[in-house]
Structure formats: C-alpha cells, structure tokens
Subunit: 416 residues, 2 copies
C-alpha cells in the first residue's frame, strides 16, 4: 500500500471530497461504468484510510465564490501497490498530479507519502551521498565549506578561473557554478572546464587537497547533459550542479544511470509548489522522489536565507533529507545556502540535531569578506568551531580576527 | 531579447520588486560584488522594460502578516538572449524557476513569454501536429472523435481489448489509455499492445480505417520509455500518451528525438501551477515549452469539464496551442476532453474560432451512452454536425435518435 496524506480544504463535505480523490485517481469517472466491478476495485481502487479534521479556514486559499466555512482536514488515502508499481512517473501522475485538477476544493497540499517495502531497491538513490562527499573532499570532522562563483551570470571563462584560483587559495572545500550558469555562448561549459580544472588538479598535486567543483551541466536534452557530464568527468572533475526541476524525472534518471559525478541538486522552481501553505506539496514529500532518483547533495536554503523560506521550513527540509526512506544510504547531504555566512552557524547547528554533516555554502558571505575570500573561509570555519564548542560567536571573535571582521560586515542582519 | 511578463503582488514597492527580480535572476546577489562590472552587466543583466500597475489586492494571495495594500502590476523583464541561450532548462531556471523564491512578494505569476527569432528552428516542435493527426486518422472535415478506455485503472489486457473491440466497431477515430495507465503488473504495456494492436490492424485491413490508439508509454526512465515506444511502433501503433509533467523536459526531449509516434500530451500536475490566479504561470507560457519540445496533441480540458478549470481558461488554452510561436507547424492539435459528450459541441465550436481542427475526447460520454458506444460515437458526430450547421442540438435531435438519447442521459448538466 502506498499512502499519501492530503491536506484538503473545501466549502463542501470533506468526506465527499476525500472519496472523490480516491475514486478519480483510480477507477472512477463522471458516470457509473459497466466495467467497474467489485473485483476490479479490489485490485486497484484507492481507499480513504483516515480523516483528521482541522480547524476551518476563514477564507478560501484559492479564491472561490462559495460561502464558507471552508473545512479542512488531513486525509490519508491508500493506493494498492499494484495500481501504481514502482515507476516514479506513475506515482507522480496517479497519486499527486491528477489530484490537483479536482473540482470543489479550495486547497490541496500533499503533506506526507509513505512508500511500501516494494520500493526498496527499485531506484538507484544517491551514488555518493554524505559519505562520498566527505571522502572526495577529504573533510571529516566539520561541515564542508563551499562557495559559489559570483556574479551568477556574465563572467567569461578566464574571469571565472581567476576567481576560482583565489577561492582555491582561500582554502575552500567546494566551489560551484551558480545554478543559473550552464553553457551560455559567453561561457561555454567546455571552456569553463578547460580553464578551471587545471587549477583544481594543480592545487591537488601541490597540497593533496582536491577542491570539489560543481559544474552546471543541466540541459533539457539528456544526451547533451551526458556530454557535459563526460566533459567534466574526463577533465578530472567530480561534481555537477543539476537543476532538477528543469530537467525533470527523465533527465535525472538518465543522468544517474550513467553518472560518475556527485550530483548536487538545485531545486529552483520548487518554491511555487510549496510557498502557499495550503497548496502544492511539502518538501518532505517532493524530496523523496529526487533522492530515490539519485540526488547526492540537496540545496535547501538555510537559516535567515535571502529567499522567502522561513527558518522552520529549512529545519524541516534538513530533517527530511537526512531521514532514511529505506536506508541511511538513501539520505542526501544537506546543503545550507542562500545569504549564509558564519553568523548562522550556531543556530544551524543547534536546530539540525547538532550535526556537522552538511555542506555549508556561502556566496557573498565568503567572497565579500572585507579581507578577501581567504579570510572569508577562515571566518566561516571559525564560526562553525565556535558553534560546535558552544562558544558565542562574539566571544570566539575576540581571538579570531577573521570572524570578528565578518561580524562587522555581515552581522546584525546586514546579510539578510 | 527574451521577454517575460510577471504579474507580481507585494506589500512593498512594485518598482523595487521588479528591479530585484531582474537583478537576482541575472547578475546580482545579496551584497555588491567586485566582479559585477558595467561591461558584464551589459552582456547579461536583465532589465525592467515596463511596469503596468493593476488595482491593489485586498488580501495577500500568499498568506502574509504585512499590512496592505498589496500592490499589483504586470512587469515586463527582458533577458539578453546571450544570458540564457536556447536551452529550455536554462530558460526555465533563469527566467521562471528562480523567480518563485524571491522574498517580499505575496503573488507571482508568469503571464507571458516572448521568445526571439534566435529560438526559431532551435527545437524540434511537433513531428505530426494537426496535419499529421488528420493524415493518420483519415478524418478530414470534422473533429477527430476520440474516447478513453474506462475504468481508468484495473482492467486486465484482455478486458481492455474487449472494450477496444467494441469501441473500434463503434466507429471511433481515436482511443487512448487513461493517462494513469502505464505499465502496471496487472496490465503490462507489452501485453496490452499484443491484445489491442491486432484489433486495430484487423479493422484497418477490413475497412481501410486505422483507429489511432494512444498507449500510455510514460516512464521516469527515458530508456524504458523508448522501449515502450518501440514496442508500440513495432506492433504498428502510431500514438502514445505522455504525462509530460511526470517525465519532465529530459524525458520529453529524449523521446521526441527518437520518436515515430504521435505524442499525445497529458498535463496532469499542471493545475497546481495555475489554479491560483496570482501564482504560478499561465498555460499560455507553459505550453510554449512543451510545443517546442515536440507535443503533437495537447489535452486542455473542455467546456463544462469535470475539473476545476473554468470555460474561459479552456478557451484561452485552445487559442494558445493553436497560435503559432514561429510557424503554424509548431501548433499542437488541441484535445478537448473531461466530462465531454456531444452537448458541448456548439459552445466549443462557437468559442474556439469555429474550427473543427481538434480532437474531441469523450470517455463516459461515449462509453456510457444508453444504447452503447456505437450510438455514443454517432451522437457526438451528430452534435458536431449540428454545431457546424448552426442548428440547435434539440432540433437536430428530432431526426437523430442517438443524439436525442444522449441528451436524455447527459443533458441538463447531468454529465458535469
């Protein structure tokens, strides 16, 4: 049994709407059908398992002329495994996609999904995940500290490489292309790889430390994306940024089957599926698909991010990607990013189970440190050390000048 | 220049938010950056081209604690072509996906997208479209009349085949698997193809009429989907249902490059991107991506559908898929479906430019005709003849008993 939980809102009857979802998404249509036998229903019909009523909504979440009250409830619906199978496009179509079209609701949000044991082993899951990311970066006992080449768009390959050289020298563990940078004419991926990888390999040769560089390989065409992948892998790269929403399940599946790279997922576009609290779906549900498909590192914003997402939502997302679906191996490495600098380290650490198993991604927060990116990296490392040791940042900064300078620049909400 | 129009809503300044979208989606981040030079900006920076203010919203579309007023405007933002290029995953990421994450808005909906000439010829577009669908079905001067095997789920292949035999005999032009039916254990696609295609080919042999059968070939794995495609093509089939949202750009691109089948798109899942009028995107925008990627036939609901979608929205969608992006060849065949029977023919015809270039899809509306599917098909053909001839259905039914019987059964909103 595949169990979905829908948070529904309706000016009508919750029970009727719940039954309609179960019927429409399996055997039913708008009239009684001769072939809709009891035997067939037993084979594939979805069933309402539980209804938990919630307080009424004052106003409809989707504008609606009906008079209230707008009743709300969490409804569990069970789909027989055989009605869907393990194909994730079937699961998305039947259990989620179709439900959004149903008449008579003023809100619907998929808030939970429980997959049965039949799914165990049916999908590749992450190839590298937390352990692989640690092994490849050589970072063992603290967060992997990463940064993003900025400006997001517009630098030519030699300009990007100049910045990368500075970031490598700064001691960062991970660098990525902005997710918006793929292979535009002014910076073809092939040129970027040629300009950047020698710097990474040279630094590895000299120091033994291989910086993980995530190249933007996304393309709507899986064949092109694989060419991009191969180009990076052949040049000695070990990571790629993938815009999962923009390539879809097909792109992701195709890539994962053939991939030798750590797949760093950016979820741009996802926000519209979750930003309205009564519509769409919880990240908790959505991320299960992408982890099963093979995401290794999952961007989930961070504390006090520059985006709309509230901190509580980030904390929930962190918990989601680090909670096994079937096994700890299917967890992704959480990537805290967006408006990050060392300042959020104590709260991030405190609210995510006091773990250092994360990639902590600071763009401007490292690059724009007043004493340069090297000081920026050290400041972030110091902030995490303080967080883990339970020392207030201001105290730790007394003996750590880089942290002190970053607090001067980014503190008191200046980075938000 | 790629131009997007965003309908934005904010308790703050429209001008500030518009500038923020343009900046965040190209060169900017949360702090000033050393590399963000004027030269770079000229190369890739997005610019606000126009702001058209709209009446304030009384309440925020996304719940928000701010006091109103919630200002609204349509904002045109231009992206230099070179900042994005022709890759549709880059276009989706930069111009749409990323904008949904921006802080300080209470509504954002992408309502228009104008692609420059640089995109002409950059994508395959439909392989068959309207002309190919007409050629393959042999239907020239009226809508292609189609139906859907129901119940949606649960029939075993021999049961499906028995129903298909009846539908073929009924004189239908087109039959499809319900979009929720792909290849579950109780009805593997291979078995369905084996059971159904001989009926199609036998009927063609006898009558010269080849019914177009759209098999559900969707799969999250493009390799599997191609195996499904090949199975259908090899058996003499000529059409496939594709759940475009569930396979994504990657699946669609991969398939289209290799396809010999008419690709019939079901858009399940799309509703959540458009159902709230202040969020997501207009179908007009979204469908451009899928047509460029190669959709031949586009399901867009219909008049008085069983889903949430209002008739006006259907009419807009019909106009969208039949309006050339660069050429009439990039138009998809509109597929009116959901709760359809002959009763909607007059209004459909009147409101969509008096064209018969459509696939008119009736599930229960044909199968559940009181005198059987054959009468159901004839009733729908009669309704369309009446619509085109400008004769009220009730009058036409006086001399057309099948139509009369369908009005008895489905008329007066009974089908809704």
């Amino acid at each position: 049994m595949i169990t979905l939980t829908y948070r529904i809102e309706t000016p009508g009857s919750i029970e009727t709407l719940a039954a309609k979802i179960a019927s429409d998404q399996s055997t039913g249509t708008f009239v009684a059908l001769p072939g809709e036998t009891e035997e067939l229903k037993a084979r594939v019909a979805a069933r309402v398992l539980a209804i938990r009523h919630l307080p009424d909504a004052e106003r409809p979440s989707i504008p609606d002329d009906s008079n209230g009250p707008f009743r709300r409830a969490d409804v569990d619906i069970g789909f027989p495994f055989d009605a869907i199978g393990t194909d994730l496009s079937a699961l998305m179509t039947i259990a989620i996609g179709g439900t959004y079209s149903i008449k008579g609701l003023t809100g619907i949000r998929v808030v939970d999904m429980k997959l049965p044991e039949d799914f165990r082993g049916a999908h590749p899951g992450p190839q590298f995940g937390v352990a692989g990311s640690r092994r490849l970066t050589g970072v063992t006992d603290r967060p992997i500290i990463g940064t993003i080449v900025k400006p997001a768009l517009g630098l030519r390959p030699h300009e990007t490489a100049a910045m990368v050289a500075e970031l490598i020298a700064a001691g960062v563990d991970f660098i990525k292309d902005d997710e918006k940078l793929m292979s535009p004419a002014y910076s073809p991926l092939s040129e970027r790889v040629k300009a950047i990888m020698p710097l990474i390999l040279d630094h590895e040769q000299k120091t033994g430390k291989k910086v993980m560089y995530a190249f933007g390989i996304s393309h709507a065409d899986p064949d092109e994306m694989m060419r991009n992948h191969d180009m990076v892998a052949k040049a000695g790269g070990n990571c790629a940024v993938v815009n999962i929403n923009s390539i879809g399940f097909g792109g992701m599946t195709f890539l994962r089957k053939r991939s030798r790279l750590v797949l760093h997922a950016h979820r741009n576009g996802w926000d519209i599926l979750t930003r309205h609290p009564s519509l769409g779906m919880d990240f908790k549900v959505w991320q299960q698909f992408w982890r099963l498909l093979g995401v290794d590192q999952f961007q989930i914003n961070g504390i006090a991010s520059k985006y709309w997402e509230p901190d509580d939502s980030f904390v929930e997302s962190f918990k989601a990607v680090t909670t096994p679906i079937f096994s700890p191996k299917d967890c992704a490495l959480p990537v805290a990013g967006s408006g990050q600098w060392g300042g959020q380290a104590p709260e991030t650490y405190a609210r995510t189970g006091r773990t250092v198993d994360l990639l902590y991604l600071c763009g401007g927060g490292i690059v724009s440190h007043p004493d340069g990116p090297g000081a920026g990296v050290r400041a972030v490392q110091q902030a995490w050390q303080a967080a883990v040791d339970g020392i207030p940042l201001a105290d730790f900064a007394l003996s750590h000048p880089e942290l002190a300078r970053s607090i001067e620049k980014f503190g008191d909400g200046k980075a938000a």
